[in-house]
Symmetry: C2
Subunit: 149 residues, 2 copies
DNA sequence: TTAATTAAAGATATCTTTGTCCTTATTTAT
DNA sequence: ATAAATAAGGACAAAGATATCTTTAATTAA
């Protein structure tokens, strides 16, 4: 559904929201290990998320990444927008540019409600809410083949 | 959601199902124009769909592509399988390999039902059913910027 | 049998995504 | 001031997706 870059972006953002505070920032090495992503590639992605004001970064000793309380209230969709991949949610499933209510593709009517639910999911779920579920121990976010934490 | 190749594959399959019979086969040029796809690239894709027995092809004069009545009963998912893109339907939205009911990612519970509906759509809708909607004039499948047919 | 028509197959080109590495800028502590 | 720690940025590499072109194989009709 999403590119690897966007998957890493979502995982990293949720991880940072769960683990960091402005006083306790996270380094790129920790983040990449935690979400099982290539470190340098993830660094690029976090650069983008920082530039787009989804997360924040401070350089130098004791620097690192964190996310402000304000940014935690952003919907998950903000990550998609920052990564330039928001249109996936809206797109026609057959890739038709003109597919719409008045000119539907053969899948439109049935896909319509799925699409609406997808959009709703990314619009209503905030970064904070996603992170909170991890804190509760209900869910996980790492990706290692043999890990349970 | 899907690659361009798979989008073309779905559109081409539906178009062939709508327009062709074993007596009236379609050439690659007509198909590519109808679904607004690059002709040579589409030829490769139709080769794959033929090899995977989703559609059929006959070479030589009066040859072309068609789809058997039997194949028309295949679900849309058969096209995804032929294109090697079936896992999109099943995949964790955050790209986590181990995401499951017992070890859910932070989006799992809400995404679960969306995923199920997606799978149901591709499993229950047959190629024939999708093509029939076009014949009824209810839907369209071309992709031209300025076309209404 | 020859020419024409059509898809199949292979080689190649281009672009995008994914990924790495090295240098630079910033900040902190000594 | 200097050294260390950290992210930012740029150059590059590798792989995959997208696309084109040329040649080959199969089929048909003349």
């Amino acid at each position: 559904m999403f590119s690897k870059a966007t998957e890493y972006a979502l995982r990293a953002t949720i991880y940072i929201a769960q683990k960091s505070t402005e006083e306790n920032k996270l380094g790129i090495e920790e983040i990449a290990k935690a979400i099982d992503s290539p470190q340098s590639f993830t660094a690029k992605i976090l650069q983008t998320l920082t530039r787009e004001n989804v997360i924040s970064a401070i350089r130098g000793p004791n620097g690192g990444f964190f996310i402000s309380e304000k940014a935690k209230k952003l919907p998950a969709r903000a990550v998609l927008l920052a990564m330039g991949e928001d249109e996936v949610l809206e797109k026609c499933v057959l890739g038709l540019k003109k597919c719409s209510e008045i000119q539907p593709c053969p899948m439109h009517d049935q896909y319509k409600s799925i699409k609406q639910q997808l959009i709703k999911l990314f619009v209503t779920k905030t970064i904070h809410q996603l992170a909170a579920e991890i804190k509760d121990g209900v869910v996980f976010i790492n990706n290692k083949k043999n890990s349970n934490s």
